[in-house]
Symmetry: C2
Subunit: 352 residues, 2 copies
């Protein structure tokens, strides 16, 4: 019988608290790496996006022939004005053999974790090995996750912080207290970027912005461009892309949504799975500028859902949900309706 | 704060039982008609389909700029062998302005209802007005819904039934007892189709089938072809399409998924919304053969979700679901995790 397991927002927060955020970041990173190493096995497609003036709503499906996953996710930069998160997400893991939805899970928190895990995985393959300082431009909802992922997976020890909203930076500093990171609060992007080994851009405004200008880029830097992730939303000057070696998740999607949208269709870009699999070199030398043009790909959510599924089982968290019908005779859908009067009568009798 | 309302399979069955199936069919038909009359307002796209050997899993999004809806639906013809329905579905209605998911509803039952409602709406615009007899080829899970929709919306009084599985027909006859329909059980498709005003094909096998051959088609017939709805799954001989005037839901999707997949890309087909809106004639004369090449379009699920939303509110059915997080400070996603130890401690104290 079809039975769907449900992990709500509180359940996922409890999983992360019980396992620890660092363990979740590295656990999801390990899952993502495993799945990227078997990249050709997946049925991949660009996400479907519905754009409006206020933001975007996306569906992100992917399948490995055994499990199918999709994520629903929005991006609405002005939501915080109404007391709502900028990004809300949930996802489903289904059985390819029957189409039965097996797991429905909240993914807002998991989206932040898997994005940070993906960024750190890419940086581990692309950044200089002696990288210790990262500039973090944009100190919103995802910034703590990026900070901890780069601390844990790359050994970043010093963060140089800037946000146009000083309260965002103050929140980040408060949240990262006691996490073993040196924090420099900077007065501008230029100051924050200067001398950094890695630069992470994580801004939310839906516009053609120039967060990173060409003259800020120093030899040997790794750029982790996370904020530019839909048509009309970019963070880097086009010249920055021309100076860098560009790596992406899934090229057909990134060419539409990423920083790459500014460039011609044949602008060179390497899918990061090739680097992880050893089929393509990452960094050539210590002076090269590398750029991970991250937009977020369905496979990362597939990995996050698999991780949550395992953690929920291990910890005994979550509940069954009445999502699709269980039927005595699956050829008799009408029986669901026809049986109702009798069921209603039984319920009525039970309450008397 | 984000709060999602949930209608499970039992809730939807209760809504249908409380309102009555006929009222739900006509209510959803009215919603579909209203939405098809404002067709140009919708942001439309072909559904995303992930095919496997066993079946297909699809995501069907659509938006009118105020509400966004999507449906998850599978099609696995062999599922009944494992005690699972062939089709399982659920859907979400979301707020375009914020991306917040407002309603999560079971849609297996609603899919059968909206498909039947759409078929009957199209037939009301295309079939001869004096149609009283319908052949129903394929007597599976959706057949009762088609029978009742055509009785209620077109005045069909007699059904001529055939299925390769006599148990399916016996189930249909049992379920339709007392519904005011004359039922002729036939020994083959040819016998069932002979003399019928309307022919509905509703078979499930994923193959290039020829349920309707050219020599079965009589002048003046309306063909309601429902079963052929994905690449490699058709029910009609190509010559039947050449003899008929073909009407579709959303042409870009039907040309890939419907009976139209057999024809060249420029084969004439009219979107049914034009007929409903009076912008294109339906039937020209009593001898014309009309064909509604139905595959199911996201707008029908949008209408079904809106109907269920209203009915649930009216009847006080359904419960809030913890789908996406409510946050004290929506810019502080990390706070969800950081606050957990304190929350866990409070829970622990509460259980002592």
């Amino acid at each position: 019988m079809a039975s769907t397991f449900h992990l709500g927002a509180r359940d996922v927060a409890r999983i992360v608290a019980r396992k620890g955020l660092s363990a979740c970041i590295s656990g999801i990173a390990a899952r993502i790496e495993q799945d990227f190493l078997r990249w050709p096995e997946f049925d991949k497609t660009s996400r479907s996006a519905s754009h409006s003036r206020e933001g975007v709503i996306e569906l992100m499906p992917v399948s490995d022939g055994t499990r199918y996953a999709f994520k629903y996710v929005n991006g609405h930069p002005k939501n915080t004005r109404f007391g709502l998160p900028t990004v809300m997400a949930f996802g489903v893991l289904a059985d390819v053999a029957t189409g039965a939805p097996l797991l429905l899970a909240e993914l807002s928190l998991a989206t932040a974790i898997r994005t940070a895990a993906m960024s750190a995985l890419a940086a581990r393959a692309l950044a200089r090995r002696d990288s210790r300082t990262m500039a973090l431009i944009g100190n919103g909802a995802q910034s703590e996750f990026q900070a901890l992922a780069f601390r844990d997976l790359l050994g970043i020890r010093r963060l140089r912080l800037f946000d146009t909203d000083p309260r965002a930076t103050a929140k980040l500093v408060r949240n990262l207290r006691g996490e073993g990171l040196e924090l420099d609060v900077c007065t501008g992007t230029r100051e924050a970027v200067r001398g950094a080994d890695i630069v992470t851009t994580l801004t939310a405004d839906k516009q053609r912005a120039v967060i990173l200008a060409p003259d800020m880029i120093e030899p040997g830097m790794h750029l982790n461009a996370v904020g530019g992730d839909c048509p009309g939303k970019t963070e880097l000057h086009a010249e920055v892309l021309r100076r860098a070696s560009v790596f992406v998740e899934y090229a057909p999607q990134t060419r539409v949504e990423g920083e790459l949208q500014q460039m011609p269709a044949d602008f060179p870009a390497t899918e990061i799975w090739r680097v992880l699999a050893g089929a393509h070199p990452g960094r050539d030398d210590a002076a090269q500028v590398t750029l991970f043009d991250s937009v977020g790909f369905a496979l990362e959510d597939f990995a996050a859902l698999r991780f949550l599924e395992g953690a929920a089982r291990e910890l005994g968290i979550g509940e069954p949900l009445d999502l699709v019908p269980s039927m005595d005779d699956p050829k008799d859908l009408y029986g669901l309706v026809a049986a109702q009067p009798a069921r209603l009568a039984a319920e009525l009798v039970a309450t008397l």
